[in-house]
Symmetry: C2
Subunit: 152 residues, 2 copies
DNA sequence: TAATCTGGTTTTAAAATGCAACCTAATTCG
DNA sequence: CGAATTAGGTTGCATTTTAAAACCAGATTA
């Protein structure tokens, strides 16, 4: 049967996963953040089939995560660039990357070394923080009221 | 053909997606963070088919994101609980939720209202921060050297 | 003791994936 | 200039995944 979709779910995580929650989309976004813009470059870097790549790019453009920009003189060269919405996935991608580095490190020691352009210092681990900037774990937070089944 | 796997990828995002990057796994983790522990509760809350749920739970247990705890007197009641590794996905899930709330809000105004248990104040948006705690956008950071094709 | 709950496994279909082949327009190379 | 290559796809086909429903066995409850 068809994969279940969550377009109308009242859980925003479900709706977010609907847009970027498949195997390739987040990797495409990651590479776009690293600077990749062209169809063939995504294809080569990711090792993804052309039809799947085309489908994902189209869907990401439809969802306004990427936008397709015509860069050819005679209109046959394109670039896929992150929109503001797409760039806003930065914390998600970095948090996921840090999680992967922490829990499934590769011997090769290719930990993410992301640095502040202004100071050259490494960025901090992404955390959920209270109003004062102190990191919070899941045990430190609660959701006021919310009947329970609202998040399915 | 089979879905491509990235177990051996030297990109930790790819490897992370291998563990939690499908449609259901992150939703299961989200609900586990909200307190769900039992097979039937996941089933009912998510509206997921039993076979898929079983498969995902097994895989999450294999990957040590969840652990299966025997809570029955005669060994037939189980709970699936987040491990530390699973709890560590908290920033990822919250960042994704905030992104969804921001870019695909639902009229119903069910924005995430997550509060610090100690103070009752709302948590901050998840951001990537420099060493001083200032938020950074993707344009503010760089990756030192890294030949380029290392992240596929 | 019967009914129900829990936690699954087993079919069976529709759909998604991946590969290879093909295709057209533009660009580069000799 | 002509030929080869590049960019950006589309199409067909075999293989997997998925989802739904049926079924099932061991506890628990009525």
């Amino acid at each position: 049967m068809a994969r279940k979709r969550f377009d109308d779910s009242n859980c925003s995580v479900a709706r977010a996963l609907n847009e970027v929650g498949d195997w390739w989309s987040l990797l495409i976004i990651l590479h776009a953040m690293y600077g990749t813009r062209r169809f063939v470059d995504f294809e080569r870097q990711l090792g993804i089939a052309k039809n799947i790549l085309g489908d994902r790019l189209t869907r990401l453009v439809d969802n306004r995560v990427l936008r397709k920009v015509d860069v050819g003189e005679h209109g046959s060269r394109f670039e896929y660039r992150l929109t503001e919405k797409g760039q806003d996935l930065f914390p998600v991608v970095i948090a996921l990357r840090q999680w992967g580095d922490k829990w499934n490190p590769v011997s090769d020691e290719s930990q993410l070394d992301l640095r502040d352009r202004a100071t050259g210092r490494a960025v901090q681990p992404v955390t959920v923080q209270d109003a004062d900037g102190n990191p919070l774990t899941i045990r430190d937070v609660f959701v006021p009221d919310e009947p329970g089944t609202k998040t399915a």
